[in-house]
Every structure is written in C-alpha cells, then in structure tokens.
C-alpha cells in the first residue's frame, strides 16, 4: 500500500500531532502548521491525529495511488482532481489503484492536507512522525517529499471503514488573504502601547514552518539588546533589532532572546499556518480571561465533531 509522489511543489512534508513536553531539551513542537485542518482531514478518514498526513505548501502537487484508499483533502482549497475528475474538499473520497491526485495552487491560505485512512508511514521520533526539517527528524528521512518518493500507507483501523463523511459546514473555515488573530500582550510590549492593535501588518516572503516575518510599524523597544534567553512557544510575535516582527510557528526554537511583544492566543494559533506572503494580519487584543473564554467556545464547537481534539 503506497502513494507515489510525482510532484511535491515548493515544500511538502509528513505532519501529524506536535511533540509535546520536550522543549526543555531543545526539541520543538513541529506537527501540522494548521493542526485544525489536519485534524478535520484525519476525522474524515477515521484516523487519530497521531497519523501523518501530507502537508502541502502552496502546491502544485501530484501523486499516484498504488492501492485502493480512502482519502480526504482539507486546509487551503485549490483545484483538485482524481483521474482528471474534479473532487471536493472536506469529504471522504475513495481512490483506486493507479489513480492520480492533482492539486493546484490555493487562492487563499497556504497549506493543504492530504490524509489517507491508516496514515502515511513516517519515521517516528519522540512519539510523533511529524517532520522537523532543520534537524532532519521524523517524516521521510527528516526531509521534504520529492518526486519519486513511495510513501507507505499504514493499515487502516476497522472502525468506520465504510463511513463517507463530510465536515459539518460550521467547521469549514474559509480562508481569505486577511487574518485577524486574537492575541494577548507579550511580556516585552511597552505599557500603554495602542498602535499595534490598530494596524494591518503584511506577511513578507520570509515565511516558513519556523515563522513568518511581518512588515509594518512596530513599537520602538527601548532595549533592543538581547534579553536573557527564555522559553518561547509558537504564537509568539518577536521583535528582532531590525524592526520587523517575526511570528513563531511550530518549528520555532524552544528558547529565544528577542523582545516578545504579543502572543497569538491558543484559540487562533491554528490559523497562523495559513498565512502566506502578502497577506495582511491584524491582532485583536484580548485579556487572558477573555482568551480562555474564546478558547472554550471554539473548543466546544470542535468537540461535537472531534471529541479528542484540543486547541
């Protein structure tokens, strides 16, 4: 049971859940940059989120199935076809041996997930098959997928093996080229700073699974000397000395010494994986107590469809 990659686009990797509880030994989270889209994809094919999907960045992507399989497409929506017949996102699809899946460029959003019942087999490192490119860990030899790769597919569990599902419409997030992310002030944001909450920032071309650079007017931070390195997490907006913000994604380092000015809240971090160069980003200010309510509301909405999923 396998899938042959014919075209992998600028960057496609195997991703599943993140690696947790290992940041104190320098091991980053990794995992799907948009974990919600990954989980929705897993749900449609009866997988646990620990099963790896292909995370496609921007496309195009093309691959031929060497077995019959049940698959799903979630995340950034692009033209999609199986054997040149258009197929839909957000529903269980069946493909046969020899059929080719083709994806184009998404018009909005950046990352698309291809999930297969059973999951793609990746090298498991620290309990997760997710790829961490900088240290060549997990996935397929810790690298991005390339033309000619034959990805092995694990045996699917019997549960729900013939279920044909669709993601409930209220859980399908339409992506645009403008993102509003709920956030709380970081420890190094100057007091009484207002402007940062009223601006549209622009994502630059410096965008990867490590982070996204944002252009715009950032506050002047008095000490732009390096602060003592301290634990830092995805969702942090750092302000390096050159004055452009850097929003951290799942492959970010575990500690950092740049001023930490905002933190995108847990409720909205999954959206960061869909920001592409040129998109506009604004931050909506929340107090920590409000953030907890936001998270609970979204969590409850998602739990009705995915009881195990945690933001």
């Amino acid at each position: 049971m396998s899938l042959e990659i014919l075209q992998a686009g600028p960057q496609s990797t195997l991703q599943a859940t993140s690696r947790n509880g290992m940041r104190h030994i320098g091991i980053p989270a990794s995992g799907a940059a948009d974990p919600l889209s990954h989980a929705l994809g897993a749900r449609l094919v009866g997988n646990d989120t620990s099963c790896a999907s292909i995370e496609i960045t921007y496309g195009p992507f093309e691959a031929t199935f060497r077995c019959n399989a049940r698959i799903s497409l979630t995340g950034a929506i692009s033209e999609a076809s199986v054997s040149d017949q258009p197929v839909a996102f957000h529903e269980t699809l069946t493909v046969g041996t020899g059929q080719t899946l083709k994806l184009g460029h998404p018009t909005a959003g950046l990352r698309t997930y291809v999930s297969v019942a059973g999951g793609f087999e990746g090298e498991v490192f620290a309990s997760s098959p997710s790829t961490y490119l900088p240290a060549h860990l997990g996935g397929v030899d810790g690298r991005a997928l390339k033309q000619g790769d034959m990805l092995a597919i694990s045996e699917a569990s019997a549960k729900g093996a013939d279920e044909m599902l669709k993601t409930p419409s209220e859980l399908r997030l339409p992506f645009t080229n403008a993102f509003a992310l709920r956030a709380t002030p970081g420890p190094d944001l100057p007091e009484n700073e207002i402007e940062i909450w009223e601006q549209n920032f622009s994502a630059t071309r410096r965008a990867s699974r490590i982070g996204i650079e944002l252009d715009g007017n950032f506050p002047a931070i008095e000490s732009n000397r390096n602060l003592p390195s301290a634990g830092i997490f995805p969702g942090a907006l750092q302000l390096p000395p050159q004055g452009r913000g850097f929003l951290l994604l799942p492959d970010c380092q575990t500690t950092g010494g740049y001023p930490h000015i905002l933190q995108v809240n847990r409720s909205d971090r999954h959206l960061m994986g869909q920001i592409r160069p040129g998109d506009s980003v604004m931050f909506l200010k929340r107090a920590p107590a409000e953030a907890a309510v936001d998270q609970k509301e979204k969590q409850e909405l998602l739990s009705s469809w995915m009881p195990e999923f945690r933001l």
């Binding site: 940041r23 104190h24 900088p134 240290a135 950092g256 920590p288 107590a289 969590q299």
Partner: protein, 209 residues
Amino acid sequence: MTAQKIIACGDDAYRLIPSDNHQRHSIAEALRSSDVWDEVVVGRESVTVQYDPCETPPEVARTHILSAMDQADLAQQEIGSSITLRMRIDEKSAPELAACAKANGLPVDAFLDRITRSDLIVDMLGFAPGFAYVSGVDDTLAGQRLEHPRQLTHAGSVGFIQGFLGIYALDGPGGWPVIGRISERLFDKTSQDPVLLAPGTRIKLEVSQ
C-alpha cells in the same frame, strides 16, 4: 518566598524569575511533579511554563507555580545528575582549540586544565535539539563567537565562548569556536528519552588525546 517575579507570557504561559538564579533547576523539577504543565522550560534566568487554560484557569495555574516554588525552597538539595564526558582534541575534532588557547596567552594544556577544573553544569538547552549551554566555565578565559558561522558543526562538538561551553548534540550550523568533540552519544533519535544532557546536569570533562 523565592519569587522575584511571575510574568504572564500570553494567554497560556507564565514565566517566573527566581531571585536566586541557582534555584531554576529545583523549581523546574518541582513544577514537573505536577501534571498541570504542557511544558516546563528553563531559560538563562527564568523558568517558563505552558498550560491549557481550558483545563487550568490562569489564576489556578499561578497558585501551582507558587506552591512549586515553596516546594523548591524546602527541598534546597542539589538536584541533577552528574556525568563524565570524554572530549577528543585532535585537530579535526578541535579546529579552534589552539587559537582559543593562544588568544588567552596560554599553552593548550593549561587552557584545557582551566576548563576541565571549572564547575560545569548544563544551564539550559535550546537553539537546536539537545544543544546544551554549559555554564560555570572559568570566567577569566576570553572567547567569542566565530565571525563566520559554520554551515556544519559536527555532533558532539564542544564550543567555547566566555563563561560557557556549548555542546552540539546534532550535526548542524553553528557559530561557536570548537575546542573538542565529545565521544559519548549525546542524541539517540530512537530513544524515548533522546537527549543525554538535561538542564541541571553536572559535567566532568575528561580530555582524551
């Protein structure tokens, strides 16, 4: 009370900065005994914790931090294991050793002697998986980062800058002058516990020719 400060770092993390920097490791240990935290990360002067505010409201998380600090106060004992690492210093393993010694006006042997006699402890990990910042290095020895970082620093390499050693667990880019290479395996990706060195580990360096 050991706390100098507890700072919110966004909606789901707190950073505590103890007044006595040496208490970071025992506080981290005390925090780890609770299942409230997703992550407990030791920094240069802080311990940062991450939690799920849906499971643990922020104010409850804060009380957990306070009690962990009390626990660490009571404990007071030295925590962290001790490990002996063998360091090779042949030219290939230690490209900048001679230059570092010379910059300090010392013969190589005397330079290394000062380092191995230092009270070495893993201060924190970061930068890359398993990369250990080791503090306690004789502060009279001067050293700074390379002007041009290397594309490839080999796993096991021991970097040196003033006050610190930096031990590379994996092959990767690096900016520290390299004064030796550890023979022990520092990173095992097949293991559940992949990294040999943890924050608070005491290190004894043995130089092997």
